[in-house]
């Protein structure tokens, strides 16, 4: 009898709640009971609340078991692999949370063994790169432009225009710089993709390199992701061994290689020009723009700077055509976004959906409301620089322009839920405090304004001239927003203003730090 395939994710969230211990227990139990198994460490499907999510393949169907602990393992074997058990969910491809998604970019996550070239090849791996070689660079640029894909790091700049600009700029050396400095709280989609489909990212970067004429790529990975670092390091070795990176890939005449760099705990390094400075070995201080990185980027050379998810959306655009991608979504927000449900939510995880879905649908239908069971008080979208939406605004459709209209932003798609016990005055204070900790210090509104912001909010909480200080805080927000060099100082006012607008009463009731 063939060995039974058992999948246990090797992904940060799964491992953080015991997946490694479960894998060890499964291997031990198989040996003890003489059952032949093949243990596969897949990526995560993104249903984080079910982790560790173990799957057993029976007659080609993968049967899922949720929240498995090492203590459950003997029981799983005793029931017969795939058999009845308290934690059995049934086939993984019937879980509503997963099947009701529009998986364009994350479709291989969870499905495949991330560190198997063979498995990757069985699931369309490198097909898009081969097609790119056949179609030529301009066809790829045209497909990306037609797709309407916009930067998923948060800024939402049209990717096709960026790539075309780099392609059209003269340069003896060009670069692809992948921004994997996923610092926004409430976001983990880059990490999930890099851990679940690292070869897919490598293929995407090679396609970008081919399209714009860049022979070198960099991945700037935050140091808070050590497991991701190990997985990416191995994937890069595999890709080189397989001839998918290096000189003259597949006899195409095109050469491309990728260097993996680690960040060092600076939030601002997620801003593209600060990231370029850091990649050059310097302090991660924001550059003035212009020049744009597309003209003068890394080491002064034309550079495509794209977020992980942006890049990883490209292979299917190449394979299926840009129009197919543009058919999803609404208005000028085309395609899908990998939303991340986080914080106080019952079913947290990744939901890749076409734009236009509302926040409420994501929180209620997918997320199942708060983890605490209490009412939702506020939802922060788009990371620490994103506004706090009150419950009344949750019917806003997720669309870049619709969010701009309500003074909010979608950013990298992180959705952090707070229940009615949250003290929003403290959240406003934290926004300023975080800015003070992370400011690169180059411009005054951000460097000084953030510290003054904390002081003013402290006075308001203490009841010391609350009305005058309210006015002062609004004025400070204006200054930071108008005069900061980048989004760090320029958008820190968003969460602060949203608290002033919707939760001002919390300044009076705040219990202090």
């Amino acid at each position: 009898m063939a060995a039974t395939k058992i999948y246990v994710p090797r992904e940060t969230s799964a491992v953080s709640v015991g997946a490694d211990e479960v894998a060890v227990a499964i291997a031990r139990e198989a040996k003890k009971s003489g059952v032949r198994i093949e243990l596969i460490r897949n990526g995560s499907w993104g249903a984080s609340w079910l982790e560790p999510l173990v799957e057993v393949e029976v007659d080609g169907v993968r049967i899922a078991y949720a929240n498995v602990t090492p203590d459950d393992v003997a029981g799983l074997f005793a029931a017969g692999l795939g058999g009845e058990h308290d934690k059995r969910l049934g086939p993984v491809n019937e879980i509503p949370y997963l099947i009701n998604q529009d998986r364009w970019t994350f479709w291989r996550c969870g499905l495949t063994d991330p560190l198997s070239l063979e498995d990757f090849g069985l699931h369309q791996g490198f097909k898009a790169l081969e097609k790119a070689f056949a179609d030529g660079p301009q066809a790829i640029l045209d497909a990306v432009t037609a797709s309407g894909l916009r930067g998923r790091g948060g800024a939402g700049f049209p990717t096709g225009i960026k790539w075309q600009t780099v392609a059209d700029t003269e340069g003896d050396q060009k670069y692809i710089a992948c921004n994997a400095d996923e610092g926004d709280s409430g976001t983990f989609s880059d990490r999930l993709l890099m851990e679940g489909d690292p070869l897919g990212l490598i293929e995407s970067m090679a396609i970008a390199g081919f399209a714009v004429g860049a022979s070198r790529g960099y991945i700037y990975l935050r140091s808070e992701y050590p497991l991701t670092h190990r997985i990416l390091t191995r994937a890069l070795e595999l890709a080189r061994e397989g001839g998918w990176l290096g000189e003259d890939i597949l006899g195409s005449g095109f050469g491309f290689d990728i260097e993996l760099h680690l960040g060092a705990g600076s939030y601002v390094c997620g801003e593209e020009t600060a990231m370029l400075e850091s990649l050059e070995g310097k302090k991660g201080i924001v550059r003035y723009k212009p020049p744009l990185p597309a003209h003068e980027g890394l080491f002064g050379k034309p550079t495509v700077v794209n977020n992980v998810v942006t890049l990883a959306s490209v292979p299917n655009i190449v394979n299926l055509g840009g129009e197919r991608y543009a058919d999803m979504g609404v208005n000028r927000s085309k395609g899908t976004l990998a939303f991340q449900l986080a914080g106080n939510i019952r079913r947290g995880g990744l939901v890749e959906k076409a734009f236009g879905v509302t926040v409420r649908e994501l929180i209620d239908d997918y997320g199942g409301g708060t983890a605490s069971g209490r009412p939702v008080k506020a939802v922060q979208i788009g990371g620490p620089l994103g506004a706090y939406l009150p419950a009344e605004e949750l019917d806003t459709p997720l669309d870049y322009e619709a969010f701009t209209e309500i003074g909010a932003m979608i950013g990298h798609g992180g959705i952090v839920v707070f229940d009615d016990t949250a003290d929003m005055a403290q959240q406003a204070r934290f926004a300023m405090e975080f800015c003070a900790i992370e400011s690169c210090g180059k411009c005054t509104p951000c460097r000084i304004g953030s510290t003054r912001g904390v002081e003013v909010i402290d006075k308001m909480i203490a009841g010391d001239g609350r009305d005058e200080n309210y006015d002062l805080l609004v004025e400070l927000c204006d200054t930071m927003e108008d005069a900061s060099l980048c989004a760090m100082g320029g958008m820190t006012p968003y969460p602060v203003r949203s608290v002033l607008k919707h939760f001002a009463e919390d300044f009076a009731s705040s219990g202090g730090k």
Partner: protein, 155 residues
């Protein structure tokens, strides 16, 4: 003992990165990963070996949170302070950690250094902490205590 890190150890790392000044951040990251911190002497040495000014190297060391300039304890415990974890009680968990370890942030007590971290990307399994480069999720006070207990037992 020369402030903890041998000259040769630093030189080895510099040569692993080809002595390239543009890889300073990577070199420092390797030093911190292997040795835990960046001593003053290492800054002088790096400036010399990479042909940079001491001010350049010091500036970079000082800029990034990861580059500690004081030796940490044997174990490093980081507690996420960012919003998703706040929404799941990280403030209370942090208060518990201060109390149970007898250490504020950036302090070391009984060989455990406590540090804040702003997002571990484990936001759907909050609150999250990191112990010696491994992330743990769904950490309440009792799980925190047993994880720290595990550190003490492993020595």
């Amino acid at each position: 003992m020369r402030q903890g890190i041998e000259r040769e150890a630093i030189s080895t790392i510099v040569s692993e990165f080809g002595g390239k000044p543009e890889l300073l951040v990577q070199i420092l990251q390797a030093i911190v990963t292997r040795h835990g911190w960046v001593p003053e002497d290492a800054i002088r040495q790096l400036a010399f070996e990479l042909n940079l000014s001491r001010a350049d190297v010091y500036g970079v060391v000082n800029y990034y949170h990861d580059f500690r300039t004081e030796a940490p304890g044997k174990h490093i415990v980081k507690i996420c302070q960012a919003e998703a974890c706040q929404a799941m009680g990280s403030r209370a968990l942090t208060a518990h950690a201060h109390e149970s370890l007898g250490a504020s942030f950036h302090e070391t007590s009984d060989d455990v250094t406590l540090e804040p971290v702003y997002c571990l990307g484990n936001c759907a399994c909050a609150p999250a902490i990191m112990i010696d480069n491994k992330t743990h999720g769904r950490v309440d006070a009792s799980r925190f205590d047993s994880l720290v207990e595990g550190l003490r037992e492993s020595g």
